[in-house]
Each structure stands twice: as structure tokens, then as C-alpha cells.
């Protein structure tokens, strides 16, 4: 549908103008109606219906005009199915739920009878709760939740960096030694844990790290320690588990990026006397940057948003921020508070990712490649 946009624009503006007259009429009617009847009535709900109708009409007109080329290349039926599916995905599954969660986060947790009533007004209380705690008073801060939040973000960053350091050599090795059966074997070995359930992977680590787990039992048997070390309480299990859970999402994008690097470039650089460090800094890493960013973004977002690993491997005294969200939602049944916490998590982690992408000058388009 590419290039014909400009010529369509003229036609578009005319028909939009024509259709725009309808809402003006409707708005006048609404104003008149509210003035006369003082509140919602049957007439006003009729008008609401009319507005919805108008929106539908304008969307239809927009669609047929904007997408006329689209329909020509894809046919009416197929084109409508495709547009319908994508519209459903973007609007009903992505945008509206996020918006309604945002809306929820600004409301009070009221019993159903009072919802929509006079008490159902917008408020910042849910956000205030994160900062000041239940009292909402001056001077006192909700240190518990804030610490959990900070710890989650910082630990997720640390996990990301650890995964990066752990994966880079392997990604380079796999990416640059191509073709051999051994490398394929390694790749297959990598893929296998990738498809094992997240819970089972956490369970596997729990077997290893539990008080009476393999690690403690083995070390005690070897006489290295005489009392089991509480890896769970020390959060060793948690960090190992988080790193473990998403390590392959770091490895594969990097591997793909490095694989596409022409070997001759490295050899040319070596020929010119560049040291290994310089080769990596000037050639490999810049080339693999989209892959590295992609991996780091994924690992960070997934670690910060992880729920299973902290629930299973987390120590009794250390909570993950998602667990707070979970508690508000499933424990306290305070969806509004949970929504607010979820929004904070979402906004914070996206802001961090975008900031880092800006610093390292990477585009959104590189993610997922």
C-alpha cells in the first residue's frame, strides 16, 4: 500500500470533514440533554449509542480509504480477516487491558455495591501506598516495599550482567566455529533446557540447593562443611535460579549476531596486528551489539518480572517485587493496589531499558532479531 498515501490524503480529508459534522451535532445534543435532564437518561444512552455508531462508521471509512490498496493486494475477505486479527490483538489484547489496568490503579478498592457510586473517584492513594505505606502519613516511608522494589531492580541488573559475562565467550565460540558436528551438538544441548518448564528448572535448582539438597549433602559427605549451608536464605539459590532461567535468552541473540560476522574481518584485523581485546572491542562487540542489547533487554525484563523463581527459590526474608504484586492480587484481593504496583514495575523496567538503549544507541527494531 506504500506509496499512494499522499494522493489518498486529499480524498480522506474531505470525507473526514463530512463525517465530522455528525459528532458536532451529537455533542450539541449531549450538552442540551444534560442541561435539561440533569444526569444520564434514556436519551443520553441513545446518544452514547450514536457516538459509538459514529466511531464505527469513521473507522470503517478510514479503513476502506487508508487501506484501499491493502484490500486490493490482499482481497476483501483476506484483508478484513488480517486487519481484524491484528486489530483484535493490538486493541483488545494489548492496548485496552493495559489502559484498563492503568485506570484501575488510580481507583479505590471498593466493594462491588459502591463501584460506580460517588466514592468511585480517581486517586493516587495506591501509588502513595508504595512510597508512604498504609498510613500515608508524613515522614514515614514504606521502607519494606521500597527496598523490595530497589532490590528487585538492582538484582535483575546484576543477573543480566552476570549472564552477559557468562554467555559472551560461548556465543563467540559457537558463532565463529561453524559447521562442525560438535558445535551442533552443543547447540542441541543448549536447546534442551530451553524447553524445560521454568518451574521444573527452579525445582531442579531447589534439589541442588536445598538444606538437605545435593550440594549440601555432597559437601558434608566430603567433609567440606559440617553443617548444611542455607543457600535459600542466603539468596544464592535465587540468583543462581534467575541467571539459570533466562541465560539462553542472552545466549541465542548474541550467538545469532556473532554468527553473521564475517570471519575474514577478524582475520584481517589480526593480520593488521590487533590484539584480541582490541578485536573484540572494535569488531566483534560492535557487530554483535543488536544481539547483545536484545539479550540484555530480555534477561533484564524477564528477571525483573520473574515470579516463579523467587516464589520457589527465594529466601524467607527476601521478597521479589512481583511477589508483592501477586500478594495484592491473589492474597489481599486488592486489584487496584496490585495494578498500581504492576504499573510501577512496568514503567520502571521499560524506562531503564529505554535509557540503556539510548545510551548504547540501539533501536527498538533490533530487539527480537
Amino acid at each position: 500500500m506504500g506509496k499512494t498515501v499522499a494522493s489518498k490524503a486529499e480524498k480522506l480529508s474531505i470525507s473526514t470533514l463530512l463525517i465530522s459534522i455528525i459528532p458536532i451535532v451529537i455533542i450539541v445534543l449531549v450538552l442540551f440533554d444534560t442541561l435539561v435532564s440533569d444526569g444520564f437518561s434514556a436519551a443520553s444512552s441513545l446518544i452514547v449509542g450514536l457516538i459509538i455508531l459514529w466511531v464505527a462508521v469513521i473507522c470503517g471509512v478510514l479503513a476502506t480509504e487508508l487501506f484501499s490498496d491493502f484490500f486490493r493486494t490482499n482481497g476483501r475477505l483476506l484483508g478484513s480477516v488480517m486487519l481484524g486479527l491484528v486489530a483484535f490483538w493490538i486493541i483488545v489484547l494489548i492496548l485496552l487491558p493495559q489502559l484498563s489496568m492503568l485506570d484501575y490503579s488510580f481507583r479505590y478498592n471498593l466493594p462491588p455495591s459502591e463501584q460506580g457510586g460517588p466514592k468511585d473517584v480517581y486517586t493516587l492513594a495506591n501509588y502513595r501506598h508504595l512510597i508512604y505505606g498504609a498510613g500515608g502519613g508524613e515522614g514515614t516511608y514504606n521502607t519494606v516495599d521500597l527496598m523490595v522494589f530497589l532490590r528487585t531492580i538492582i538484582a535483575a541488573m546484576a543477573v543480566t550482567v552476570a549472564d552477559l559475562i557468562l554467555c559472551y565467550p560461548l556465543a563467540y565460540y559457537l558463532g565463529q566455529s561453524r559447521g562442525s558436528g560438535f558445535v551442533r551438538l552443543l547447540v542441541v544441548l543448549l536447546i534442551i533446557p530451553y524447553w524445560i518448564n521454568e518451574i521444573l528448572r527452579a525445582f531442579a535448582l531447589k534439589i541442588v540447593f536445598a538444606d538437605g539438597g545435593i550440594l549440601n549433602a555432597a559437601m558434608m559427605k566430603l567433609g567440606l562443611i559440617d553443617q548444611p549451608i542455607d543457600f535459600i536464605r542466603a539468596d544464592v539459590a535465587l540468583y543462581a535460579g534467575l541467571g539459570y532461567a533466562y541465560i539462553l535468552l542472552m545466549l541465542f541473540p548474541m550467538y545469532n549476531a556473532i554468527e553473521s560476522l564475517d570471519r575474514n574481518q577478524i582475520e584481517a584485523a589480526r593480520d593488521m596486528g590487533a590484539s584480541w581485546i582490541r578485536i573484540h572491542r572494535r569488531i566483534v562487540i560492535p557487530h554483535a551489539k543488536p544481539g547483545i542489547t536484545s539479550g540484555m533487554t530480555m534477561v533484564f525484563m524477564l528477571s525483573a518480572g520473574a515470579l516463579a523463581a523467587p516464589q520457589i527459590l527465594g529466601g524467607p526474608s527476601s521478597l521479589w517485587f512481583t511477589q508483592l504484586v501477586y500478594q495484592w492480587f491473589n492474597g489481599s484481593l486488592n486489584w487496584q493496589q496490585g495494578a498500581a504496583y504492576a504499573i510501577v514495575l512496568l514503567v520502571a523496567s521499560i524506562t531503564i531499558v529505554l535509557t540503556f538503549m539510548k545510551i548504547f544507541k540501539v533501536n527498538m527494531g533490533d530487539i527480537g532479531k
Binding site: L85, V86, L93, Q98, M101, Y104, I207, I214, G305, P316
Partner: protein
């Protein structure tokens, strides 16, 4: 120079070993624990080679129902996310260049949105919608399967979209035009030209979507309603008490994954070889007793080997009986336990004497929750007892000191079915029993170290069989006694 290369090779090898140990080691250990009769999933005190955990698993109706739910949800997610991903990728190839990056950002975003957020937003939105549209929609919009499919598809469609975009980059839109030009309708052109071209991508996207749906936890945990998926059930079990029947399930899943990965790789290599042969490349035609498809195809070889091992394992399961071994282990344990009980009785008598001097008896066998004093003193002891903290749901939730004794018993209960071996597998004393197993089996007689910590060890295995409420009290008593 030479030694340098050698050194770097050693370093590389070491690094690879460490990396893959980290990656695969826990999975291997987890799979092995499925065959240990020890009721705590471990391999270090190896009791008996046994298949009983598979039996326990096969009788676990919750797990079976959860698998069914997972399959239904997985199939729904596959259909929805493949359709949406395909449509989105087709539109991506046609959209105006200046809108492309915005559009791409929107459809890739669900991958980056935390699953928790997706789950919450899905539940909130459909709840709200059903309230707007009235009670007629109530059933559907609060249905766990419906919500889970939608919630998962939101981000799984992004994955499938990426698969399709990669494939579409090699598609010549001229083919569709050629079909139209030859008189095909748009639907015919789609069905006969584009769809066959996309078939491999659709297959891999479907597999990807199904696996992603099957293993999803973060989103599903908010949306599942009355239809817990396998992952949810697993998480519940793992959170409230681990036992080797989970390992048995894990072993099955690991096996299936290994099998799938090897089969795919074998198929891939077979195709590459066929291609090479067709292109007239010389393929070594050495004399070999191996059938053709195995030659030069390590993956096929590994596949055959692996299948052989698994079949042997399950064939063994039919004929092999661990009864005798278990009886021996049990005898050893009983001897051990008897010894301990004597010791404990002795101590208890001592304590009683002390307490009688102090005041009221807190060990009334009433079956009620342990008195506050017992619970609070039990806590620090639990921290040191090998499995106390693991099985305490309160600990997992991070709410220290709230786990009451009866809760503990009832939470541990569904984790394992009663088995013919009586007390060893009694769910009620699982925690205790496991603890006894863990150190009791490490040697014929309790080691010096164990004796030193003796006071902190859990109560004797039989004490708790009768009354879960008792358990905490005894533990607390032991702790206090120390």
C-alpha cells in the same frame, strides 16, 4: 606460543564444562532423583532404585487434569497466536515505511512486558468488560481457559510473528501476484501459494507457541481461575513441598524434550545430507553395517541410543522390584529410628522432670495447634533443621512466623499419596521422614557430626504419624531441650 594455545584450549574446555554443568547438571540430577526411593528428591543418600514415583504420578488426578487443561489452553493459544502472528507479519511487510517502526514496536512490546503485568491486565480488562456488557458474558469472561488463552496469546503472538517475519523475508510477493494473474482468487492464492510456503514456519511457530503456552507461569498464575495448568499445579507442589513424583514428571518432560531435539536434529541432518547427495557432492560410501540414515548423522545415532535407554528403563520397571532393597533400607531406618527414639525418650523424661519443676506441661497430646510458645520456639529450630524451612509455606511467602503447625501438615499431605510402605511414605510426616532419610542413610550408624547436632534433628519418624499437630510440639520440644 604453543603452550599458549594449549593453555587457551584448556581454558576453553574448562569454561565449556562449567557452563554446561550449570546448564544441564541440575536437570540431570533432577531426572535421577525420580528413581531414588528416598522420599526427598535427592541422589546422595541413594536408597533404592525404584519406579514408585512414576506410580504416584500416574495416580495423581490433579496432575492429569492439569495436563488436560494445559493441552486445551495450549491448542487454543496455538490457533490464536499463529493466526494473529501471521496476519501481523503479513501486514508488517506491506505497511507504510514511516509507520513501520511504530507498528513493530507495538507488536513486539508484549515480549518485553512482564508476564505478571499481562496476566493482571487481562483479568482486569475482561472483568470490567463483563460488568459493562452485563451478566450474560460473566461466565465466559471469567473463565480460566478463555482468559489464559487470551493472556498467553498476547505475547506468544509476538514470538510467532518473529518466526513468520523471518520466513517472509524470503518470500517473493511476485508469487502471489502470479497466482492472481492466473485467475486465482485472493483466498486461493493465499491457500495454494503463500500458505504452503509458510508451512514450515507455521509448524515451528505452532510448536513454539504450544511449548511457550505449556510452560508459562507468570501470566497464567493470574488468569487460570478454576482451570490450573500443569505449570500451575507444579508450582503449587514445588512451593508447598517437593517430592520425587515431580522429579518423575520432570524426567518424562526432559526425555520428551531430548527426544524432540534429537529427532529434529536427526531430521535436519538427514535433509542436509540428502541435499548434498542430490547436488552430486561426493558422500563417503564406506562399507558400514549401520542403516543408511544413521551414517554420518550423530543425532540419529544418539536418538536411537536414547530411545533404547528409555525403553530399557521402562522395561526394567515392569520386571524389577525394589521391594527387597527397600525392606533392607527400612530395616536400617527402623533400627536407626529406634535408637533415636530411645535417646529421645530418655531426653524427654529428663525434660519432663525439668518442666515439672517449672510449671504446666505444654506437650498435651490434644491435636490442637501447638501452643504459641511451642510454635515460636519451633521457629528458630526449624531454621536449622534441614527441611523445616523448605516445607514451611509461610517461609516461601516470606511471612515469617505465621505458618501454624496444622497448616504445615495439611499442605504437605497432598504432595504424596500413601504407599504400601507405611510410615516411610506417610504424607503427614514427609518432612520429618525426609530429614531422617537424609542423614540417617548416610551411614550405617549416625555419624559423630549427626550426634553433635542430634538435638536439632527432627523427631523420630513414628512420632508424627499419629498426629500432625504433635509434630511441631515435638520439634519445639527438641529445640527447647537443646
Amino acid at each position: 606460543m604453543r603452550s599458549n594455545i594449549l593453555l587457551s584450549r584448556i581454558a576453553l574446555g574448562l569454561y565449556l564444562v562449567i557452563f554446561f554443568t550449570y546448564l544441564l547438571g541440575p536437570l540431570v540430577i533432577m531426572s535421577m532423583t525420580a528413581f531414588n526411593s528416598n522420599p526427598f528428591p535427592t541422589i546422595i543418600p541413594w536408597d533404592c532404585f525404584s519406579f514408585e514415583w512414576f506410580q504416584v504420578l500416574a495416580n495423581d488426578e490433579r496432575i492429569l487434569r492439569a495436563i488436560l487443561n494445559s493441552v486445551i489452553i495450549g491448542l487454543g493459544t496455538v490457533v490464536l497466536s499463529v493466526a494473529m502472528g501471521l496476519a501481523a507479519s503479513l501486514i508488517l511487510t506491506q505497511i507504510w515505511p514511516r509507520w513501520r517502526s511504530t507498528y513493530y514496536t507495538i507488536i513486539i512490546a508484549p515480549i518485553l512486558i512482564p508476564g505478571v503485568v499481562l496476566g493482571i491486565s487481562t483479568v482486569v480488562f475482561w472483568d470490567r468488560l463483563s460488568r459493562i456488557l452485563g451478566p450474560a458474558t460473566d461466565g465466559l469472561f471469567h473463565n480460566g481457559i478463555f482468559l489464559t488463552i487470551l493472556g498467553q496469546s498476547t505475547f506468544i503472538a509476538s514470538y510467532t510473528m518473529l518466526v513468520f517475519v523471518a520466513r517472509l523475508q524470503r518470500y517473493d510477493p511476485g508469487l502471489t501476484e502470479a497466482a492472481l494473474d492466473l485467475g486465482a482468487t485472493h483466498v486461493q492464492a493465499f491457500r495454494k501459494i503463500l500458505l504452503p510456503f509458510m508451512r514450515p514456519a507455521i509448524a515451528s511457530a505452532a510448536v513454539l507457541a504450544f511449548l511457550a503456552s505449556f510452560e508459562n507461569y507468570n501470566t497464567t498464575t493470574f488468569t487460570f481461575g478454576r482451570y490450573p495448568t500443569l505449570t500451575i499445579e507444579l508450582a503449587q507442589k514445588v512451593r508447598y513441598g517437593i517430592n520425587p513424583s515431580i522429579s518423575a514428571l520432570a524426567f518424562i518432560i526432559v526425555s520428551l524434550t531430548v527426544f524432540g531435539a534429537l529427532a529434529t536434529e536427526a531430521w535436519r541432518r538427514g535433509r542436509i545430507k540428502a541435499e548434498a547427495e542430490r547436488n552430486g557432492e561426493a558422500v563417503a560410501q564406506g562399507r558400514s553395517i549401520l542403516p543408511g540414515f544413521l551414517r554420518g548423522n550423530w543425532a540419529a545415532g544418539a536418538l536411537v541410543l536414547f530411545s533404547f535407554v528409555v525403553i530399557t528403563l521402562f522395561w526394567t520397571a515392569r520386571v524389577y522390584s525394589p521391594d527387597q532393597c527397600k525392606a533392607e533400607v527400612r530395616a536400617a531406618k527402623q533400627a536407626e529410628a529406634a535408637k533415636r527414639r530411645e535417646e529421645l525418650l530418655r531426653r524427654r523424661a529428663q525434660q519432663r522432670m525439668q518442666q515439672q519443676m517449672k510449671g504446666p506441661d505444654i506437650f498435651t497430646p490434644s491435636g490442637k495447634p501447638a501452643p504459641a510458645e511451642g510454635a515460636s520456639t519451633g521457629k528458630p529450630a526449624g531454621g536449622k533443621v534441614p527441611f523445616g524451612s523448605v516445607f514451611d509455606p509461610g517461609n516461601l511467602e516470606g511471612q515469617s512466623g505465621t505458618g501454624a503447625a496444622p497448616d504445615q501438615g495439611s499442605n504437605a499431605a497432598p504432595a504424596a499419596k500413601p504407599s504400601p510402605f507405611g510410615s516411610v511414605f506417610d504424607p503427614g510426616n514427609l518432612a520429618n521422614q525426609a530429614g531422617a532419610g537424609a542423614d540417617g542413610e548416610s551411614g550405617e550408624a549416625p555419624s559423630e557430626k549427626a550426634d553433635e547436632n542430634g538435638g536439632e534433628k527432627p523427631a523420630p519418624p513414628f512420632g508424627s504419624v499419629f498426629d500432625p499437630g504433635n509434630l511441631k510440639g515435638v520439634g519445639g520440644g527438641a529445640g527447647e531441650g537443646n
